[in-house]
Amino acid sequence: MGKQINNSLLGHIRPRQITAGALRLRATFCLGGFSFLAFIVLTITGMLLLFFYQPGDRAFTSLSEINSVLPYGGFIRALHFWAGQMMVISVFLHMVRVVWSRAYRPLRELNWITGVVLFSLTVILDYSGYLLRGGQESGSAATVGHALFTSLPGGQALATIFFGQPSSFNGSTLNMYVWHVFILAGAVSFLQMFHFWRIRRGGGVRPL
């Protein structure tokens, strides 16, 4: 049974042996790993918040209930918030490390591009999560974003697809909810798996 697992896909996700240099802290500073850990925490806490959060007009009310009425609701919400902020910071620092160690060189260009796209999606996820808070601050942030989109030719349609119809007092809409919970999060999940596979295919972390 153990041999079958080893010979299966699960057994090949990670190599059986790695280079000793990859064990050193300064090979990666665990930044990529911490980013993925933050994403897992975000996914788990996000799924828990899904049970009670309601987008749109009831966004602020549902968040207030999660924060003050639901047992551990405030903790889950705060953990989701901090994991999000730390993920943005760790992904940025991971990018700095990759440039410093020149891990973008051939044949890793595609993985570098994937990483930059992941960074952009992480930032956009942070922004969309901010809009889902449903208060006046999120409303003003949505107004700024909406105005940026409408400044483009044909931007009104794009703005409607992305933002829906936010008010200046509430940035939470069903559109933004779908983008944040399903489309953007799904894209990040898929690209992360591709990113890890490319690292594995490229021979893993190169010792500095």
Binding site: F81, V96, Y104, Q136
Partner: protein, 141 residues
């Protein structure tokens, strides 16, 4: 002893020593478990130690703010001074395209200049973010 036989083991030891030596995956996994504990500990400490307030209620009196989450603070700072097409689209997209094409122009300018240019670009955006936060009076949670 045959001289060729005494040379072979030493040659193999030289090739596999140092950073290129192969070690079992378990060595890395132990370090990863420790890092997970430290990472989760940091997250839990932040969660327990720093409150995350709610926004102002949409039903409350309007407070008349123009605010952005800190990740877009740099763009917000630029938007307050320059036209939207420049601050919101041209500069961010230009920076993103410089980042995306780094492997190609980095090979042309050499590793020192690639690092310097990347550092300058990142520092500008990070600096603008801190400028925005300083103007807003702190970290807007």
């Amino acid at each position: 002893m045959d001289p060729s036989e005494s040379e072979k083991p030493q040659l193999q030891a030289k090739v596999h020593s140092g950073l290129q030596e192969k070690v079992p995956l378990e060595e890395l996994q132990v370090r990863e478990y420790i890092s997970i504990f430290i990472g989760l500990g940091l997250l839990f400490a932040l969660t327990a130690g720093v409150k995350v307030p709610l926004d102002s209620s949409p039903k409350a009196a309007a407070i008349g703010i123009s605010k952005a989450p800190w990740v877009f603070g740099s763009i917000q700072w630029l938007l307050q001074r320059w036209p939207a097409w420049l601050s919101g689209w041209v500069l961010p997209l230009l920076s993103m395209s410089v980042l995306l094409t780094l492997p190609w122009w980095g090979a042309k300018v050499g590793k020192k200049w690639a690092w310097r240019i990347f550092l300058i670009l990142s520092s500008v955006w990070v600096g603008l973010t801190f400028l925005y936060l300083w103007g807003e009076g702190g970290f807007p949670a």
